[in-house]
Each structure stands twice: as C-alpha cells, then as structure tokens.
Amino acid sequence: MTENLKIIEIEVLRYNPESDQEPHLEVYKVPFSDDMSVLQGAQYIKDNLDGSLTFRWSCRMAICGSCGMMINGIPKLSCSTFLRDYHPNRIRIEAMAHFPIEKDLVVDLSGFIEKLESIQPYIIPKEPRSLEQGEYLQSPKQFNDYIQFTSCINCTLCYAACPQFGLNSDFIGPAAVALLHRYNMDSRDGAAAERMELVASEEGVFNCSAVGYCSVVCPKQVDPANAVNINKTNAAKDYFLRFLSPKGGSK
C-alpha cells in the first residue's frame, strides 16, 4: 500500500533520560497520505520504525488535550495538524517548550496540574440550593458571560507559547487564569473575592507582558489573554478599592 504514497522526513527531538546526556534530533522517513495528521506520522514511526518513540495521545479529535508538541517551533495539537501542509519540506517535532522533558515528546505537567488545583476550580455557591429546588436559572447573558472560558482542554499549548512562563515557571499562566475567570464569571459562584488573592499575587496576572501569543495558539478559541487582561484590571481595581473598603472591591 505504501508504494503510491509520498514520503515526508520527520525530524524528532529524542531524549531518553536513562541513556542520553541531552536531547538530540533523529530523522525518519514516513510515507503519508493527505489525510494523515502529524500524530499519525509519529504513530507510524512507533509502529514500524522505532517502538521506543514516546508521546502522549488519545482521542485523535482535538478534545482530550494530550498530543500537544512543537511543530516547526509552533505549539500545536499534533492530531489536528496535517503532514500535507509541510510536504515536501522536512518537519520538526519537539516536546512543548518551557516544560521539563520527561522522555522524547512527553513533558512534565505536574506543575501545571498544581496551578489548576490552586485556583479553586469549582463552584463555591453564592446561594446554596437543594436538589429538590432544581437547577439554578441562568439568563442567556449570564451564560454568555462565562461559556467561552469553559472550552479549555488543558492542552497547555498556551504555556509553551507564553514567554513569561518561560522566564518564571511559577506564573500561574494563561489556562489557569482563564479557568479561574470562568468560575468568577459564573452567576452560580460567589468566590471571586477568595480567588482575587491569587490573581494579584506574585504568581498572578501581573507576570503577563501582554504578548497575546497564548490566544493565537489556543486550539479552542478560549482567548486566555483576554481573561488575563480582565483580571489585571480587576486586580488593580480591587487594590485601589481596598483603601475605601476593608473587604476589597471584587464582587
């Protein structure tokens, strides 16, 4: 079946912590058809050329967030990026920037997970409601206030894009701020004031230098840069209002 297929060279940044001093590039020749994604290219290598090539993947449809990598230097989901768009040139795939490499294309995400956990990413009800009372009502406006920020798939491409996260890995970063904002903007939630401390902290939004590349690479149009910007304003407002009211100014 492979005889009619075109061939693309895939250059992969390899790193095995048990045997390599540092990461190095290896090149593989991969036969491909026009419908094949970069992920399928990597799978071809693993299945046919070198079973030790290591990468995360699962859904193949850009919703599980597993398969992010640098593709010719740009953070992308490999399942929804296609080999045809790079042929006849060589394509280079590398682990996501700004994260420690565990092995090959797999990076250590534990820091990101801790950030996600730190923002209280759950409803802290403004008004408790029993199940017998049924659902909370949300007007179309209330719904639209937060729905965009629910779309984050935690792929962390925005961290690989963020120069400030590259400089200071303590910065809670675009996706975590977007999620924080999602809960703050939800009419069911009443804990924006509690979350403000983190927003304005040393790890918070003022790390951002407003480059906006996070929103450019986001595969789900979450626009985390917008969430960060709004929270800069909120935090500044809160700071000044603290002089007027001991409880601060957030809602």
Partner: protein, 596 residues
C-alpha cells in the same frame, strides 16, 4: 516496592470514576480514596462524548416513557429493576451536575434545555452544545479537587488486582513516569476503566479505550456479560472513525444514499418526516440505522468514494450555519479540520463505526461483582441498563447514577471490611511485578505489537461486525486463538523504565486479546438476532424461548472462554415486537388500550 494503604481504590478517572470518588468523599470524609488513572483525568474518553445525557425533564415526559424506551431499545435484554432505578435517579444526578457548574445549554428563560435523540419518545437529552462529555468530565474533575480525601495517582497504569480469601484487597500499578511498581492496598476496589472498542478496526474511540478493567476482573473469575453486543454508531468519519454525534440528527439532519434518497423510510422507520419526529426516520435507534447502512451498501446504493470507501451522506445544510454553530460547534470544527468541508454547504460523508461496548463486568444493581469488595461502573460494567442495544445519551447519565451508587456502597464496605494481610498481598504483588517485567526484559521475540493489534482489529471487524455468520465468527475465534499464541513471542523495542509506552501498549494488547475472545465466543454462541447482534445464517429472528438470556463469558487460562447463560430480570415490560416509526406508534396505542 512501594506500599500505599487506602480505603477505596478506583481504577479509571473518567466520568464514572470521578463521580464515584466524589460519592465516597461525601459519604465518609474519613475514608481515603486512591483515584488511579493511566492518563490525567481530563484525557479520559468521556471527554469525547458529544450529544448529551438522558433524564426526564419536560412536563410531557415521564419516568415510565424513559423506562419503556430503554427496555425496548435494548431489545428486552435489560435488567428492568436496574432501569427503573436509573430513570428515577437520572434527573437528580443531572441536576447535581448543574449545581457543580456543568454548562448545560439553556432555554431563553434560563432553564436547562433538552434535545431529541434516537429511540427516545420525548426530548430528554440534556446537552452542553455538542461537547457534553467534555463538560461533564471537566466539571467532575474540577469538582473532585475540592475533596482532600481524594488522592490521585495520575498516569499510573493498573496491571493486576490482589485478593485474599475471596476478597479483592487492592491493586498493583506502574508509575508511568518512573516504571516503578506499587501495591495499593484497599478494602474496596472500583473498576471504571471504560470500554474496549479499540479491539475493532474503525472506531470512534481514543487510543486508551483498551478494555483494561474488563480483562482484570475477567482474569479473576468475574463473568463478562453480554460481550457480543457491540454498538456501531451509524454516523462516523470514514477511515478514522471519528464521531459525528447523533445530535446531528436530533437537531434535524438527514441521512441520504447516492440517489439523494432518505433511505431509512425503507427500513421500518417511516413514513418520511420533514421535521425531526421522535422514534421516526433518523431518530431511530443506532443498531437499526447501522443495519440499514449495511443493506444499502449490499444493494449498491451507497456512495463509492475513491479514498473513503462506501459512505452515505449526513446532510445538515438545511439547518443553516448559525444554528449549526450554536448547537453543533464541534461537529462544524471537525468537518472543517479533518475533512476540509463546510457542513453548512456540503453534505458530510459518513459510515458506521464501532462506538460502545454494551456488555461488561457482570455486577448487580448495586454495582457489586461476584468477587467481594470489587465493583464496576460505566462502560466497563454490565449493570444491566443497556441490554442488546444502548440508546444514545443513556451512557453519560449511567456514569453519574451508578458512579454514585458504587461510591456509596464501596464506602460502606470499606467501613466494615478489614484490611488484608500485608505480607501476603505484597508477595502477590511481587509475583505480578516479576511476570509483567518479564514481558519487557525477555529477548529474542519476533512478533510486533502493531502487527498483532492490526490483525486482531481486522478479524473482529470481519467476524463480529454489524451482521454475523457462523463461519466468519468461527474464523475470528480461531484467529484470536492464533494471536493469543503469537503474543507470547512478542518483541518490545524499548527496554527502559521511564515512560515506556512500548511496554504498556503490549500489556494493553494482552488485555485486548482476552476481551476480544470473550466477544467472539459470546457472539458465536448466541444463535438468534437481537439488538446489535444480528445474524444472516438461519438465525435472523429473535428467539425468546432459548435466548432471552444474558451471555456470561468465564475466563479459562490458556483456552477459549466458557460461555454460560443467565436469567434476565423482567418487572413490568414483557418482551414484544420491537418497532419504530408508524408501527411503533401503533404498538404504543395498542399497549395503552390494553392497560386502560
């Protein structure tokens, strides 16, 4: 080896595992929960569910309607007491999820909205655009962070259960990032690892859906029930199998053949409807729609595409761009990204693909298996909800309803059960470590993982597809036995410890082969046609005299499974002819009159 002591261990952190973990934490905050998953929770395949979750919502609907749709949809192979409990709890659990922040789509007046789905008499599918599973999973994951008693073991791969005196007492795991083994001792163990559809070739499923939990329980003597019932979803992307949700049809999409003809009217689903009408045409159940495709293909009425193969068209154009972007944004994006077409302007080529494992680990209505202390929930379990064919949108609700049941009961069990003998359990775990490590360290193997996996998937499609005959099912049984043998000669390129996915993939393939065998042997044993199991070799009819029975596959080491038959629990719905469209309305009317 590291030893961790916990009260409740949960394998799998998708919708079911997360819901169970929260239930344990809420019922007794003093109990320790170990939530183990081979991926980060939000990567679990619940994330890919699109259409929504069923629960009675409208004043015109009733629990009884939902019950009858489910039991009839399952071709009377459901445990009816389980279905009764399920339909009653469904709205409660879906409301609970709303309170936890799930962004269900709303009506203009602010209430949760519901949409039409196949085989459902009234609109009752709660939805979050067409990313319902994604939102359910992220809501549960984020909510679970609130509970300090839940300790997650992300990217930990489960390789076995340990037991003592007929009780499950824990699990053995590999930490993917180091390759090191750990024993997690637990008084209750809940398996929530999802289905096994990746044993087939063309499927909607993620790479992680390899039936791990099914094989774990099966090898410990627990029956796998109704494994022959594998759901083909009628509208999948050709080649990749990616899913175009049933909600495409719930919102009004058409299925047409190469003549532009809405062919479902020829398969007992008519007469033709202009607007979506519940249980008519495109809103028939999945098994019937996939079967109709098969005959369209046989009769030369599918579209023959040069690279995609035989397809029909899912036509959404009449719904308009704005409506599609509001209700089906993910479908829109997928059609554009993966197929390079605009669903507001072009019909989408689709064909059936494997989507769901109806059968699973046999458990009772409280999710308890025959091995004391072991529970199973979600797609890996057979609690008896789906029978021979699952209705779309029942399975997301199942995760919640039975996730909670299992969590509460596993907590109760952990409160009263005693811990196992640590020395004895450690000895078992060390034997497991030795066996699993040998798979990696052995040299001289010549078989490739990818080759065996491919041959397995091909033979499953050939023998256990939409329509089945004895000869090809037997060929599949034989082929699987051959692959089981060849697996012993497997080669693993990667000998390292850190993140060795070559090794983990081989362990998964080992699980898959056992699960595939249980499916093929259950299938060949069922000499009738029911729901998703359809035969063309003299057993075209449903046979309630001999086969109103569950299949139960029991593991036999080194041999084919032993298949037994088990009783089906009937409460109020006696088996009747399974009809849709106008014939369905007539049957409903007659049933109503006979009750009046």
């Amino acid at each position: 080896m590291e030893i961790i002591k916990t009260d409740v261990a949960i394998i799998g952190a998708g919708g079911a595992g997360l819901r169970a973990a929260i239930a344990v934490a809420e019922s007794d905050p003093n109990l320790k929960v170990a939530l183990i998953s081979k991926v980060y929770p939000m990567r679990s395949h619940t994330v890919a569910a699109e259409g929504g979750a069923a629960g009675v919502k409208k004043p015109t609907d009733s629990l009884e309607y939902h019950f009858h749709d489910t039991v009839g949809g399952g071709d009377w192979l459901c445990e009816q007491d389980v279905v009764e409990y399920f339909v009653a709890q469904a709205p409660v659990e879906l409301t609970q999820l709303e309170h936890w922040g799930c962004p269900w789509s709303r009506t203009e007046d602010g209430h949760v909205n519901v949409r039409a789905f196949g085989g459902m008499k009234i609109e009752r599918t709660w939805f979050a655009a067409d990313k319902s599973g994604f939102h359910i999973l992220h809501t549960l994951f984020q909510t679970s962070i609130k509970y300090p008693s839940i300790k997650r073991f992300d990217e930990h791969f489960c390789v076995d259960l340990v037991e003592e005196d007929g009780r499950c007492q824990g699990v053995v795991v590999i930490d993917t990032s180091t390759g090191e083994f750990a024993l997690i001792e637990a008084k209750s163990v809940i398996i929530a690892t999802g289905g096994a559809g990746r044993v087939f070739r063309e499927s909607t499923l993620g790479g992680i859906v390899t039936g791990d939990g099914l094989a774990l329980a099966y090898r410990h003597g627990v029956a796998l029930r109704d494994m022959e019932f594998v759901q083909y979803h009628p509208t999948c992307m050709p080649v990749t199998g990616l899913l175009f949700t049933e909600a495409c049809r719930g919102e009004g999409g058409y299925l047409v053949n190469k003549e532009g003809y809405r062919y479902l009217q020829d398969y007992g689903l008519g007469p033709l409807q202009e607007k979506p009408k519940n249980k008519y045409m495109e809103l028939g159940p999945r098994d019937r729609l996939s079967q109709a495709f098969f005959f369209e293909q046989q009769n030369g009425r599918t579209i023959e595409h040069p690279t995609l193969g035989s397809v029909v068209h899912l036509d959404l154009r009449h719904l308009g761009e704005a409506y599609l972007l509001e209700r089906l944004p993910l479908i829109y994006e997928m059609a554009e990204t993966f197929m390079g077409l605009d669903p507001a302007k072009d019909p989408i080529p689709v064909r059936p693909g494997v989507h769901y494992t109806m059968g699973g680990i046999k458990v009772d209505g409280k999710c308890a298996s025959s091995l004391k202390g072991l529970y199973a929930i979600g797609e890996c379990a057979s609690v008896g909800l789906h029978g021979a064919n699952r209705l779309g949108s029942n399975s997301l609700t199942e995760l919640l309803v039975f996730g909670k049941v299992a969590g509460v009961d596993a907590a109760k069990n952990a409160e009263s059960a005693t811990a196992g003998n640590s020395a004895n359990l450690l000895k078992q775990a060390q034997a497991v470590e030795q066996r699993v490590t040998a798979l990696k360290t052995k040299t001289g193997g010549t078989e490739k993982i990818a080759v065996i996996r491919k041959e397995m998937a091909q033979t499953m499609e050939d023998g256990c597809g939409i329509y089945r005959v004895e000869k090809s099912m037997q060929a599949t049984c034989d082929k699987l036995a051959e692959l089981r043998e060849r697996f012993k000669n497997i080669n693993i390129d990667d000998k390292s410890s850190v993140w060795n996915t070559d090794w983990l993939t081989a362990i998964e393939l080992d699980y898959q082969l056992d699960v595939a065998l249980s499916m093929a042997h259950s299938a060949i044993n069922r000499k009738e046609s029911r729901g998703a199991h359809q035969r063309l070799d003299g057993f075209e009819e449903r046979d309630d005299v001999n086969f109103l029975k569950h299949s139960e596959a029991y593991y036999v080491a080194g041999n084919a499974p032993r298949i037994a038959l088990g009783d089906v629990k009937i409460t109020t719905s006696q088996p009747a002819e399974r009809v849709y469209g106008a014939a369905g309305d007539k049957a409903d009317q007659e049933r109503k009159e006979s009750h009046d």
